[in-house]
Amino acid sequence: MTHLVIDGLSMRFRPPGGGTVEALRDINLSLERGELLSILGPSGCGKTTLLNIVAGFLAPSEGRVALDGREVRGPGAERGMVFQQGALFEWMSVRDNVGFGPRMKGMRARERAGVVDHLLETVGLGGFGDKAVYELSGGMQQRVALARCLANDPEVILMDEPLGALDALTREKMQGLVLKLWQETGKTIVLITHSVEEALLLGARLVVMAPRPGRVFRDERLPFAAMGAGQDLRAVKRDPDFALRREEILSMIWDMEEEIMGRAPNGAVPA
């Protein structure tokens, strides 16, 4: 049985200036339980809008999203979300941030402490539980965000460019962590990124979206996530097949951008 179904999804905004923006047109995707899907696309292709609809923060103009047959009508604990940055609660310690979801559900403090300590170990933050979140580096903060999401034991984890604000080295480490968590927890993960390399690495399945209107341009399965979960990520990146795919996707996106720019009314060629 399919796990997460995105069925005929369209989204049109009416911005305050007037007119209509068609952000998404007829998106159809279905995910099996435990799938790792990365969504790649140039900016403005509606990938964040899509994720926000799945999370339940936005209602689509047409179509529906269903998880295990239940239609999504708003945010819910079964769909956890990891944001790019700044979504942690500064007024809580690392421990309280991670324990937030269980606490909202009414889990007892003692039971919660066990869950939190285990997750902090899992994301490599053992011993940092009593720190304030603003004392941590950006990478460590994203580890907290991952742990906080996992603490709630969601069915699906939605990640909105979770590593976008990190430096290259930290980012690589975190990519390894995401793969490790995927493999260990077997969660369904939908990850949005604008980095081709990251999309290839962190997607057992890759969806490339095209902009204006946002639509699915390509949908394929990839071997690299499975490879990376078993071995060194650098080795995967050195793999000739990986390089080939990267070039292919990159030129696809370049073509896409050029096509859009070619359609620009003033016909200007941007630098």
Partner: protein, 442 residues
């Protein structure tokens, strides 16, 4: 319109008079800066920054208040105060010269209507307030102008009617035509006597102004020790049927009560405005209108409505803090990052839980900033309200003292008001650091 330009002229001339003093003060600051720089260079420590930054001019992070400058600044204020009030706290060579005290002498020449002239001597005893020496003159002298002896208070210009004892008086048509042999005109320029100045007024009388010196009179600015003495005296004996602690306690009680009431109403009001479009629409016109109205402008209305008792003052302070707290809470709520709220919802939080665990704590830094501003405004407002009408309070103390020209009490009150205001702000800052340590670090 003419009156207006006269006033403008008055303001400009006052500014011009103050200018040399301002220039002198700035020169003092620059002199000490140069000395300090020189001393540092002498001892081998160049003007280098602790972080070894080469660009410090323009780098806001490199500017740290110099503790030495602060100490010198405070010391300079007290030194200037002490020097220009002739305080006993500083050595005598540092005190500004006082007014002339002693015996002066001048000779005037009167001319009778028939053209006859005669000279007479005036002995002037210049004494401070309270001293009454025996000033009986000896022989009145020859001729129609008779010698005089007068007592003048130190630093006070005085009209001396030297002709009243003459045989031919001003009423008979005699005029003063010279002093110490120098011809004088009524309303003309004055003459320097060495111990003071004299001039003939337009109506022909001698105006004797003994040298006033450089010191401030206690009426304008009492020396530090007399302010300190007053403080001890009032701390022990009270002022106007209430002890010093009662005066200050009343002011603080009013501020704290008014502020707390304002916060209790204002914070939920601000939350409602931040969370609901209906409430924002309803209260925006009221809050935006009331915010720019200074609370001081409400004093007369509050007195009319609630009288001069405690109720009126607390209502006033409530109104002073209400809008500030409402606006602070509103901006705290509006400033919450959407991703935090989204995160809380997707972690399973209910609306009430989002409010309590995300929106309220997220707004605390703004609420604290508002509270600091509100406490400052309340403290200023309470003093002003007590100036208008009160039986106790710091403001009442200085207002009552000013009516009796007890400048030392006025200054003592101003210092106490300043110290308490500063203490309140430090306390609020400490509370902020302790309760919202994440402020500015999100």
């Amino acid at each position: 319109m003419n009156e207006f330009w006269n006033e403008v002229g008055g303001v400009l001339s006052a500014a011009a008079k103050a200018l040399p003093w301002i220039v002198a003060y700035v020169a003092l600051i620059l002199l000490l800066l140069a000395l300090w720089r020189g001393a540092r260079r002498l001892f081998g420590r160049g003007p280098q920054d602790a972080m070894r930054r080469t660009v410090t001019f323009g780098d806001a992070g490199a500017v740290r208040a110099s503790p030495l400058a602060s100490v010198l600044s405070i010391a300079a204020i007290f030194l200037l105060w002490a020097a220009f009030t002739g305080s006993v706290l500083v050595p005598s060579w540092l005190r500004a010269p006082g007014p002339f005290v002693g015996d002066g002498r001048l000779a005037y020449t009167a001319e009778a209507p028939d053209g006859a002239r005669d000279e007479a001597t005036v002995t002037v005893a210049v004494r401070p307030e309270g001293e009454t020496p025996d000033i009986a003159s000896g022989t009145p002298g020859e001729g129609f102008a008779k010698d005089d002896a007068v007592l003048i208070r130190a630093g006070r210009a005085t009209l001396v009617k030297v002709q009243d004892n003459d045989e031919v008086t001003a009423a008979d048509g005699a005029r003063i035509v010279a002093v110490d042999g120098t011809a004088m005109e009524p309303g003309g320029p004055g003459l320097d006597l060495g111990w003071g100045r004299v001039n003939v007024t337009a109506r022909g009388t001698l105006n004797v102004a003994p040298d006033p010196g450089w010191r401030m009179e206690p009426l304008w600015l009492p020396p530090p020790e007399s302010v300190a003495r007053r403080l001890v005296e009032i701390a022990q004996g009270g002022y106007r049927d209430a002890s010093l602690w009662e005066h200050l306690g009343y002011s603080l009680f009013r501020v704290v009560t008014g502020f707390l009431l304002g916060a209790i109403v204002g914070i939920p009001l601000g939350y409602a405005m931040g969370l609901s479009g209906w409430f924002r629409g309803w209260f925006d016109p009221i809050v935006e209108f009331m915010r720019p109205v200074p609370p001081l402008a409400l004093i007369p209305l509050v007195i009319i409505w609630a009288g001069i008792g405690e109720t009126g003052k607390i209502v006033l302070l409530f109104l002073a803090s209400l809008w500030i707290m409402a606006i602070a809470a509103r901006s705290g709520v509006s400033g919450v990052r959407l991703s935090k709220v989204h995160a809380a919802y997707s972690l399973g939080a209910s609306r009430a839980q989002v409010l309590w665990h995300v929106i309220v704590p997220n707004s605390l830094p703004d609420v604290f900033t508002g509270a600091r501003v509100a406490m400052g405004v309340c403290w200023g407002t309470v003093v002003a309200a007590e100036l208008v009408a009160a039986n106790q309070g710091a403001g009442m103390m200085i207002m009552a003292a000013s009516k009796f020209q007890q400048t030392d009490i006025v200054i003592m009150g101003i210092v106490l008001i300043g110290v308490i205001g500063l203490a309140i702000d430090l306390l609020m800052r400490w509370g902020e650091r302790t309760l919202v340590p994440w402020k500015g670090r999100a």
